[in-house]
């Protein structure tokens, strides 16, 4: 592995780890707040899948970095300006409709992206993707069903769900942005060229939203910046909470 590719791979793995830990954290905020007990348990499983995924990416990052950093140094010892997750993942928990719509948008993204990532020439990345594909199949089934139920449920649930779609749509454009790092990896068969995936994602999401009697928003606004550390205000608060104990005791074992 050349140095340039190794550096790019490290950066890439951190990005994927950040996406996973941030979304996993947001889902975990639902524990004991679910609409009923069964859902509380089920959504917890999704959170566990995402945080588990983050651990796999970060331990690989630690291996690539080879500078003494461990799995936990990446999520716990970087500030929001250093985080590289997509903005969609950091948006607050919101109400149940908001969370399920975000989940659908993210799950559909995973559903089109992972089958490409699994072809990665990097064996570790491919192995994580292979595991994540199975999880995503189930996640997408859940979030799709929820959006169908909420969109085509009562007037109130429809209103809340449409509002969530409208408020989140603008954060989905950057899911398909490429930069030099990702281009280098895509050219070398390690990373995914996400710019080619938007049509498939759009078709999948549109079909679900339309069936749910929801309106697919137009692309009139777009917020970008997650991959360069230009975040919304939400992430700082999330990390403050997430990192408080770890950072209060530097160098300690848990």
């Amino acid at each position: 592995m050349s140095d340039a590719i190794k550096q790019a791979t490290l950066e890439y793995v951190i990005r994927l780890g950040d996406d996973s830990v941030v979304l996993g954290h947001r889902i975990s905020e639902w524990v004991s707040y679910g609409p009923f007990l069964e859902e509380d348990i089920a959504y917890g499983n999704v959170a566990l899948d995402y945080i588990g995924r983050a651990r796999m990416y970060y331990s690989y990052a630690a291996e690539l970095a080879d500078d003494g950093r461990t799995e936990d140094d990446f999520p716990y010892m970087r500030s929001d300006r250093e985080y590289r997750n997509l903005l969609l993942m950091e948006m607050p928990r919101g109400d149940f409709a908001y969370s399920q719509v975000r989940q659908l948008l993210a799950d559909a993204y995973a559903a089109v992206m992972l089958p490409e990532l699994v072809k990665s020439k990097d064996e570790t990345i491919a192995a994580v993707a292979a595991k994540a594909i199975k999880e995503t199949k189930y996640h997408l089934r859940r979030s799709r069903d929820w959006v169908l139920r909420l969109g085509d449920g009562t007037e109130e649930s429809h209103k809340r769900t449409q509002k969530a779609v409208d408020q989140l749509w603008g954060y989905t454009h950057e899911l398909f942005d490429m930069d030099e790092t990702e281009q280098l990896l895509a050219d070398n068969g390690i990373g995914v060229d996400v710019s080619k995936l938007r049509d498939a994602w759009h078709a999948m999401v549109s079909e679900i939203l339309t069936t749910a009697t929801l309106t697919v928003p137009d692309d009139s606004w777009a917020v970008r910046g997650g991959r360069t550390g230009y975040h919304t205000e939400n992430l700082g608060h999330m990390l403050t909470e997430m990192q408080i104990v770890h950072r209060s005791h530097p160098g300690c074992q848990w």
């Binding site: 609409p35 945080i51 449920g153 009562t154």
Partner: protein
């Protein structure tokens, strides 16, 4: 005694299980509903104090462990509600009783979790105490309750271990971490002893529950087991025992211990704990916020069924 009562008591005495469709004395049914639903509510309310730390867990490993542990509590709540429902009462009714304050949950959960150490202490001491009780309840006379307990005990063995392991890491860590561990032990030890309930002489439900084999061992016997098993565990942690009167009694083959502050016990039960109101309010708020979601899926399903019926016609 009617022949039904005789038949019922014959089964109890022969250690046969009572099953949902069997005839049972109304008082037995009521007693079971009270105890089982209290147990279910405890699992569900118990999600809160530990859930309080999921977003602050100090490592990703601890985060997934805690998350899956709290998820298990929800699962155990579900098993127990499910077993209680076989007695002819709905979960909605049980939840209503919890929210109105008519039904109780374990008073231990009215204590606040103030530090990461408390997560360890709850797993180790609170789950540890619960397991002592639940192992005994695997032999309870009501079939669905007994089967639920067997399943729960099997799953819960990791709960206590993960808690102890978390405290062990603190106890072996920096001086500040060790202090956190000691503080958590000090705050949770006595309330954990109270979880076994009042002394046998004071316990309102004990006698009948023992006769019907709903309970299989007395509060004081179970508490003694827990006291005995905890002493060496504290030693391994290298922490100070919170009970200064703890002393091995060769003759009894048990540890003698100091007296529990029963005033505190009753005070917390009666609403003066740090979190009594918070816990119930949290449950009500989540349940209320879930109303529109539950309404939505009902409406969706009705539409779907109507469409199906239309297609058939």
């Amino acid at each position: 005694m009617t022949s039904q009562e005789e038949n019922f008591m014959r089964k109890i005495e022969a250690d046969e299980k009572i099953e949902p469709k069997d005839w049972m004395p109304e008082a037995y049914r009521k007693n079971l509903i009270r105890q089982m639903s209290q147990h279910a509510h405890s699992e569900v309310i118990g999600m809160q104090p530990e859930g309080n730390w999921i977003t602050r867990a100090p490592s990703l490993r601890r985060k997934v462990v805690l998350l899956s542990k709290v998820q298990d509590e929800a699962g155990h709540g579900l098993y127990l509600y499910s077993a209680t429902e076989t007695l002819g009462i709905t979960r909605a009714e049980l939840i209503a009783a919890l929210q109105s304050g008519e039904a109780k949950y374990a008073s231990i959960f009215n204590y606040p979790t103030l530090t990461w150490g408390d997560v360890g202490a709850i797993g180790w001491l609170v789950d540890g105490a619960a397991i002592v009780n639940q192992v005994s309840l695997q032999r309870t006379s009501y079939g669905p309750y007994s089967r639920g307990m067997i399943r729960i005990c099997k799953e819960e063995s990791f709960h206590q271990r993960q808690g102890y392991e978390a405290l062990l890491a603190l106890a072996n860590g920096s001086p500040e971490q060790k202090q956190i561990a000691q503080d958590s032990l000090n705050r949770f030890y006595w309330p954990a002893l109270m979880m076994f309930g009042p002394h046998d002489s004071e316990s309102a439900h004990s006698a009948k529950s023992m006769e019907w084999k709903i309970k299989r061992e007395t509060n004081d016997d179970l508490r003694q087991k827990f006291i005995d098993q905890t002493v060496p565990q504290i030693e391994v942690l290298g922490l100070e025992h919170p009970d200064k009167a703890i002393k091995w009694n060769e003759e009894r083959g048990h540890y003698d211990s100091g007296e529990i502050d029963w005033d505190e016990f009753y005070s917390v039960i009666n609403g003066n704990g740090h979190c009594n109101r918070q816990r119930v309010e949290h449950h009500i708020a989540a349940h209320d916020e879930g109303t529109w979601v539950r309404d939505a899926i009902t409406a969706y399903n009705e539409k779907k069924n109507a469409k199906k019926a239309q297609n058939v016609a």
